[in-house]
Each structure stands twice: as C-alpha cells, then as structure tokens.
Amino acid sequence: MADEVVLLDSWASPFGMRLRIALAEKGVKYEYKEEDLSNKSPLLLQLNPVHKKIPVLIHNGKPVCESLIAVQYIDEVWNQKSPLLPSDPYQKAQARFWADYVDNKFGDCLRKVFTSKGEEQEAAKKEFIDCLKLLEEQLGDKPYFGGDNLSFVDVALVPLYSLFKAFETFGNLNIGGDHQCPKLIAWAKRCLQRESVFKSMPDQHKFYDLICENRRKRGLDQ
C-alpha cells in the first residue's frame, strides 16, 4: 500500500520547516498544503483540536502534531536512511535534552527579542546571546550537533537560527553575538548547503517583511 503523506504547514513557520527538512532527508514524497493562519481550515481544526496549530503531518489519514514529535515519528517510520536520532539510549537522551532546550529556552529568548523594544529588548538580547554561546559550546568542533551527519538537534535549531539571521540581516537589529559564535555561523552555512535545508527555507525577503508587519501590528515599530 502506498504511503499517503500530507503536510499542513505555513511557508514562514520554522516549525513546519523542521518537518520539511526531515521529510526531505528521508526522501519521503508528500503533498504540501498551505494553511492560512488567519482563517484556519476545518481540516486543521479537526486534526489538531487541542492546539489548532501547524505543522500537522498526516500519514495515511492519521495526524501527528507538534514539530519535534513529528520529526521523531518521521525518523521512526522511515528508518531505512538518514537516521536523525542515535540508537544509543544515552546519546538519544542528550539529543532530546538539547532539542528541548532549543524549543523552550532558545525559542523563548528569541521570541522575547522579537516582541519587545527598548530596555526590555536589550535585556532579551543579552539572554539570547547566552543561549547562542551555550549552543556554540555544545556544538564544539563537530560538523553538526549530531556528529558527522545532520540530526535531530540540527533539524530543531536550523529553522529558528535562520529566522533570527533573517531578522538580523535585513533589519537594524544587531544582536552582536557573531564574533562570539563562529562555529555556529559555520554550522549554519554547512546546513544551508544541504538540499533538504535550503529547499525548505522560506524566501528571506518575504520572511523579513512578515516579521516587520508583525512588529508593527504589536506597536513595537512605527
């Protein structure tokens, strides 16, 4: 029986991007469905009634919600190539710990930087740089967080990192962490050279425009 894989997603979502990367790494063919988040489809509301959010992976009609859970699902189902999680339980636990860190601590810090201004934003930027430094330390001299190959933590981080870089590049937001995180910068370049990653990236200009619009709506910028 042929697998039917559908991805409910939104072009700008870093969480959706995680799934696009994972599916591409595994060579899984899927149908992409763009959700209008201002007008959520009945399908989305039916398949993710608890959170009503994208991405939702639909495999043979059954929905898998929450991006990191869906990435693990993809890894377990299409386990013939490109393993994203190691088989050793301790290494796996470390990968899950750091993916959780990316989602919670790093993600929260990034959100605070985007949704604040003035003094509050300065404090958020400092906290964010601490997160970057910790990740830099964790990466060390490895090509990827998982070692020689793209893995769970890389997939979790690269979309959020790209989001932050788009904002920094096109906006006047200078986080200033670059000189302290040369390994992360090299890592991001390395990730972007992979087809699975660059094909999953949103258009950077469109992306920046969206971020600016969001900030204007929140009254953070004129």
């Binding site: 608890v50 898998v64 929450e66 869906a70 339980p89 301790y90 796996k92 710990f97 910790l134």
Partner: protein, 221 residues
C-alpha cells in the same frame, strides 16, 4: 533476573511531581537506585555539575552519566530497562503518547498550578483555564483504564500531578477543580492510578505532602 542497574542515582526533591515521575518509572521497572534529596536553596556540587544548563531536579545519573528533564529521563529509562514498557512499539501510538505528555507539561500542569496559587484578582480566569484543560484530558481518557491502555504508561506517569497532587492542593486552597461531578472519568482514572500497588508505594505520603504545601500556602498569605 533483576535488570542490571549498574549504578543508578536520582537527585530529586520529594514533594516535586517531576522528581517523583522518575521514582515511579524506576519502581515500575524494578530498578534499584540511590536517592539524594536536594536542598534547592543550597544546591549540591553534583547537581550543578550534572545539570549545569538548568540546575534543576530531577537528574538521573546512570553509571556516572547524567540525564536531565523528567520526560527525557522517562524515555531513557524505558529504552534502557525493557520490562513493563512505558511506551508502545507502534510509532503512531508513541507519537500520541509523547503529544499528551508534552501537552501536560506545557499547557495542563501550568494552568492547574496557576489556578491553585492564584490570588483573588486572577482566580476566576485561572480556574476557567484549568477547567478547560481538565476537559481536554477527560475527553482523552474516555473509558480507558489508563492513558496507556491496560497498563500504566508514559502519559499516566506524566499526569501524576493531576491524579494525586491536584486533589491535595485544591483541598488546601479550598478550590474545586478536579471533581467527580465535572470529571467522572478523570477521577476514576486517578483512583485506578493511585491504587496501583507500585504507584501507591512510590508516591509521596499524602499527609506529608499536605503538610508541606499547606505550610507553603500559609506562608504566602
């Protein structure tokens, strides 16, 4: 044959439901372990060294190697000691269990905690939020014996706060959150869960937990 535990140590805090999750999992698997009660106002060298990122309990140290974050620890325990599996084999069911465990941690438990410790100003809204979350859980447990099906699983352990702590805390605070009238299925589940012989033995004693949180409630008034 008893599972070869190697050296297993748990750094924890007895009233913490997160710390207790690990106790329950280790007991369900029959794993022998050493327990160290952390004083969070004076964190041990070992805690700071084994969880430098968050400096929190619980931390499981297995053969000298530390693992932090309770749900990460639970999955590690499940993968290392194979008896009484906490997660099913099927990837879809595993994803579903992980979804509910995460939902508990990110939405349900914080909403319940906020409602329990809310002051007069925020109480009505916080309680409304907590009730909405309990409705979602009631809808999920349905007529299953446990969230895990016929046997206790990851989600049941993750939901121990709902099944045990909430009853005690709502009594202390004079709130009605988890009641049999509003949530008959969830209450039935909590009774099944807390009367399971291993769980019963692993949960902190009711009167001690009551005294601990009652003191905290009094101090905050």
């Amino acid at each position: 044959m008893a599972a070869d535990a190697g050296q297993v140590k748990l750094l924890g805090k007895w009233p913490s439901p997160f710390s207790n999750r690990v106790v329950l999992a280790l007991k369900l698997k029959g794993v022998q372990y050493n327990y160290f009660e952390e004083d969070l106002s004076n964190k041990s060298e070992e805690l700071l060294k084994s969880n430098p990122v968050h400096k929190k309990v619980p931390v499981l140290i297995h053969n000298g190697k530390p693992i932090a974050e309770s749900l990460v620890i639970l999955e590690y325990i499940d993968e290392t000691w194979k008896s009484n599996p906490l997660l099913p084999d099927d990837p879809y069911q595993r994803a579903s269990a992980r979804f509910w465990a995460r939902y508990l941690d990110e939405k349900c438990l914080p909403a319940l905690w906020d409602a329990i410790w809310s002051d007069e100003n925020g109480r009505a809204k916080a309680v409304e939020e907590a009730i909405a979350n309990l409705k979602i859980l009631e809808n999920e447990i349905k007529d299953k014996r446990f969230f895990g099906g016929e046997s206790i699983g990851l989600v049941d352990i993750a939901a121990s706060f709902v099944g045990y702590w909430v009853g005690i805390l709502q009594e202390i605070q004079g709130l009605e959150l988890l009641t049999v009238e509003k949530f008959p299925k969830l209450v039935k589940w909590s009774e099944e869960f807390t009367s399971h012989p291993v769980i019963k033995e692993g949960l902190p004693p009711r009167d001690e937990l009551f005294a601990f949180f009652n003191a905290r409630a009094t101090a905050s008034k």
